[in-house]
Symmetry: C2
Subunit: 195 residues, 2 copies
């Protein structure tokens, strides 16, 4: 198939998103200028508008992609047999997945307030879909007597907040490995659920 001479769009597009993600994570959406992103990619500011209609949409696309990735990866995870095993599996999945993309996690959580109303509603919906996956596990476990939980909605929010924490402080080569963190957090979640 013929390729246009001098066209770099297939590579520049992803590089724009990668640079924006890294800069937004480090300095915050509002503090990063289109010129900074362009400089990081090695193009002029005007060229960015070949890849995004505006700065807001660039942020939204990063966040939607992240949420889609989480949901897709979780959907591809085999369903464990018991509520207890499913909760253990969810906790480990969440930590592992989020530890691998700290920048996307950070941006998706911190920059919600910089989305306009329509974009916010979309991201919020995806986030709720993910939370509902965990809440379903907790409800099953509560119903079967496997968990001792007074409020599955609150437990859902509490567990996700807890499990997302390591994303903010984990450093490769630190005191604990990913696997150790995964073990410790999974155990704390099972305990908190009264399993």
């Amino acid at each position: 198939m013929a390729r246009k001479t001098g066209s770099h769009s297939e590579i520049t597009g992803p590089r724009v998103r990668a640079a924006a993600l890294a800069l937004f994570a480090r300095h915050g959406f509002a503090a990063v200028s289109m010129r900074q992103i362009a400089a990081e990619v090695g193009v002029q500011a005007g060229a960015l508008y070949l890849y995004t209609p505006d700065k807001q949409t660039l942020l939204f696309d990063l966040m939607r992609t992240h949420m889609d990735d989480v949901l897709t990866a979780w959907a591809a995870t085999p369903k464990a047999p018991t509520p207890r095993a499913r909760l253990d599996c969810f906790a480990r999945f969440h930590i592992r997945f989020h530890l691998d993309r700290p920048e996307a996690v950070f941006v998706s959580y911190m920059e919600l307030r910089n989305l306009d109303a329509a974009n916010f509603a979309t991201i919020e919906g995806l986030r709720r879909t993910y939370e509902t996956e965990l809440e379903a596990i907790l409800q099953e476990g509560k119903a079967s007597g496997a968990f001792s939980l007074s409020d599955t909605k609150l437990a859902t929010l509490a567990f996700i907040a807890m499990l997302t924490g390591p994303t903010n402080w984990f450093r490769e080569g630190g005191r604990l490995s990913r696997a150790e963190i995964e073990d410790i957090y999974a155990q704390m979640v099972l305990n908190a659920a009264g399993a």
Copy 2:
């Protein structure tokens, strides 16, 4: 005592900080201009510089005040007799205190990256001091056998992340009261600690 005619500094200073806190919480530090803060207070932008040397210091003062307030309030809380009672007490204190000032909590957590190096170090030190209060409780409980915890440092971070969560979603008049949320979270923390 004589008062200067036309002087409002005793009232305008706090109003500047209150407006800045509200706007920073809603839109983010970088997204808020000094002109917006001034408009909220009802003065011109230039007048703000009578109350703060610059925007960065305004943010820092808000955060330092918040951290000082947390530490002071916790220090004034009576020390419960057992590790289990102390953990219960800490969990309830943390939720109650943070639920009463969601804007300060939000800003103090989200805007850390907008502090310059020296200011960041100061706030970070205060935050660690607070975390150490919780970790000491967990260590005592682990040593006495009251808690079953594999890593007190991780548990400290996990519990604080969990207990701060309600600040982000609690609304007066919602499904659950403050007291109910306090009860449920305290119970989950005690469970997670293996108490």
